[in-house]
């Protein structure tokens, strides 16, 4: 198999040199962290008051974990380590309590991030001459833009189409002879189902590869999709706290994802004790971002469950491989790639007087896209008998929910007592989406 590198020296750096590089970069980011109100308070308590206090990589273990809630508490500038004048990009997302989180990037941060995406892309064998159709959402979501810039850097022809509109996607694929897609597994499946409608088969297209991310899926799904389209599919992993996509990516061997360890220190911990698990054991993935200076994050708990492969990959890269995500440590829902917590929905519903205490969150999939239906009971005492008032209530619930979780939902009104009651841990979330 032909192995191509973007930066051969870094990608095949002997482990001891890689660790030395990690140490140097860790000292650098600790220096930036100490410029933030958040870490300025936290790090001296564990004996780290200057970058020199990090003597070896083992000293990382002294640093307490950073969690999602810390990011919310620090909103908007508690984790900002540089002058706003140095910031050239802001990505933001909503949180469980309605308090958003924010990630800042300097021009150099974006440059380093882009470089890791270029590396990821080349690892899959893509490059100049490829026509790349980016079907991930652009905007505040990091999935679209991150890969976009990486693809430009390696010299692919990038079509920034974004998500949705199957007919147009297919037209573009056909007209521009697209060779590479960046897409979620459910949308790729949907595209296949819709092709006959437009008189197309995969043979009419020029697809060669797809990068698949933003949604957990099984190996069987990958195999099935590869067969349906006759293409190679590579798994992608990232999260905006670690810049976005390009934290870990599969190489041509498609045997789980190389974590770019010169950019991110990965730890796998027992989510209950916080202690490291044994090599090869599954646990919660914890990352330290070594390449972002505007907003440093040390030992960030992702709540994703995965394990590390102890054995090297035949491609010669020294970056270890992590498994695909096997689960979550919390109940977070991923709806069309957007992270939503049931507690966010509950909080909104409970703020509306006309809504009773029972509700149900229902997830289904239509035409490759997730659909969120929120079933609520109306509060009898506020029933006026007016149909228009009920319609207005539905709109109000949807608007308020959208303000919190950023996505649209279908609202169903139900009679009091008709939904499963609170007692006995009622099943609040009914997920009918087919597991991929």
């Amino acid at each position: 198999m032909e192995i191509r590198y973007w930066n051969q020296r870094l990608e095949t750096l002997p482990r001891h040199e890689l660790r030395q590089l990690q140490l140097e970069r860790l000292r650098e980011v600790v220096g930036y962290a100490l410029q933030t109100p958040f870490y300025k308070k936290r790090l001296p308590k564990v004996g780290i008051s200057s970058p020199e206090d990090i003597r070896s990589l083992d000293d990382l273990k002294k640093i307490p974990f950073t969690v999602k809630d810390d990011l919310r508490q620090a909103f908007p500038k508690g984790l900002l380590a540089v002058d706003m004048e140095k910031v050239v990009r802001i990505h933001s997302s909503s949180g469980t309590t309605g308090i958003p989180t924010v990630i800042y990037y300097t021009a150099d941060d974006l440059d380093r991030w882009t470089d890791l995406l270029a590396r990821s892309i080349v690892a899959t064998g893509a490059g100049p001459g490829d026509v790349f159709q980016n079907m991930m959402s652009y905007g505040l979501f990091t999935g679209g833009l991150g890969v976009h810039y990486g693809a430009e850097r390696v010299g692919m022809a990038v079509i920034p189409v974004g998500g949705g509109n199957t007919q147009r996607q297919l037209q573009i694929m056909r007209d521009f002879r697209t060779t590479v897609l960046h897409i979620t597994p459910s949308y790729l499946l949907h595209i296949h189902q819709r092709m006959p409608e437009f008189g197309l088969t995969p043979a009419d297209l020029n697809l060669k590869k797809a990068w698949m991310g933003a949604e957990p899926h099984s190996e069987n799904t990958r195999l099935k999709l590869q067969e349906l389209f006759g293409i190679d599919i590579y798994n992608s992993y990232g999260l905006s706290e670690m810049n976005g996509p390009g934290v870990a990516f599969e190489c041509v061997y498609k045997n789980d994802l190389h974590v770019w360890e010169d950019g991110y220190i990965i730890e796998i911990i027992d989510p209950r004790t916080g202690e490291p698990v044994e090599d090869g054991q599954e646990g919660e993935v914890v990352f330290t971002n070594l390449i972002r200076h505007a907003l440093p994050l040390l030992r960030y708990r992702t709540r994703d469950l995965a394990f590390l492969h102890p054995d090297p990959c035949p491609c010669g890269r020294t970056a270890r491989r992590m498994s695909r995500i096997t689960g979550r440590t919390d109940d977070m829902l991923i709806i069309n790639g957007v992270n939503v917590f049931p507690s966010q929905i509950e909080e909104v519903l409970m703020s509306i007087p006309e809504v009773g205490t029972n509700y149900q969150i229902h997830l289904s999939r239509h035409e490759g896209l997730d659909r969120l239906t929120v079933k609520v009971e109306i509060y009898s005492k506020l029933f006026t008998g007016d149909l228009a008032a009920l319609e207005a209530l539905k709109n109000k619930i949807n608007e308020k929910l959208r303000a919190s979780i950023t996505i649209n939902s279908r609202i169903e009104l139900h009679e009091p007592g008709s939904l499963p009651a609170i007692e006995g841990k009622a099943k609040r979330v009914v997920d009918e989406r087919e597991k991929l």
Partner: protein, 143 residues
């Protein structure tokens, strides 16, 4: 002059309308007029019954969401143009009709219609001064 209409919230579920109506039947409450306003996911059943107070307490007891709204019951000559005459009176009097529906049975040569107005008192004044008969709730048990 005003009579009380009962509005019942109905979720979109098979057999729900039947359950609500049979509950009234078992309690010996007669439905005089009814209509259903529906959306894709729920509906509101509106009705005039002979014993509204009993009906409301019955619904409360069975955890059925219901409330009372004031409507006006109007006698309309049962001949071509009869309804148009009444509507013209209202239109000339600048009275807005939110919705209207008919009684289930016919009791005389006149048809009976239930009107919901945004201004019930104004509607009553306009109708009676034009000689249109407006029923009171006391008339209902005798129907």
């Amino acid at each position: 002059m005003k009579i009380r209409q009962i509005s019942v919230f109905l979720e979109n579920r098979k057999g729900r309308l039947y359950e609500v109506c049979s509950l009234l039947g078992q309690a010996g409450i007669n439905i005089r007029a009814l209509t259903i306003a529906e959306t894709e996911s729920f509906g509101v059943l509106r009705m005039v019954v002979n014993k509204p107070d009993e009906a409301i307490s019955l619904f409360r007891k069975h955890n059925i969401t219901a409330n009372l709204t004031d409507v006006v019951a109007v006698e309309v000559p049962d001949r071509p143009g009869g309804l148009a005459e009444v509507l013209k009176v209202l239109s000339d009097g600048n009275i807005n009709v939110e919705y209207m529906y008919a009684f289930v049975e016919k009791f005389s040569e006149k048809a009976l219609l239930v009107f919901r107005f945004d201004d019930p008192s104004g509607a009553h004044r306009v109708l009676t001064s034009a000689g249109v008969t407006v029923l009171t709730e006391k008339d209902l048990p005798n129907l």
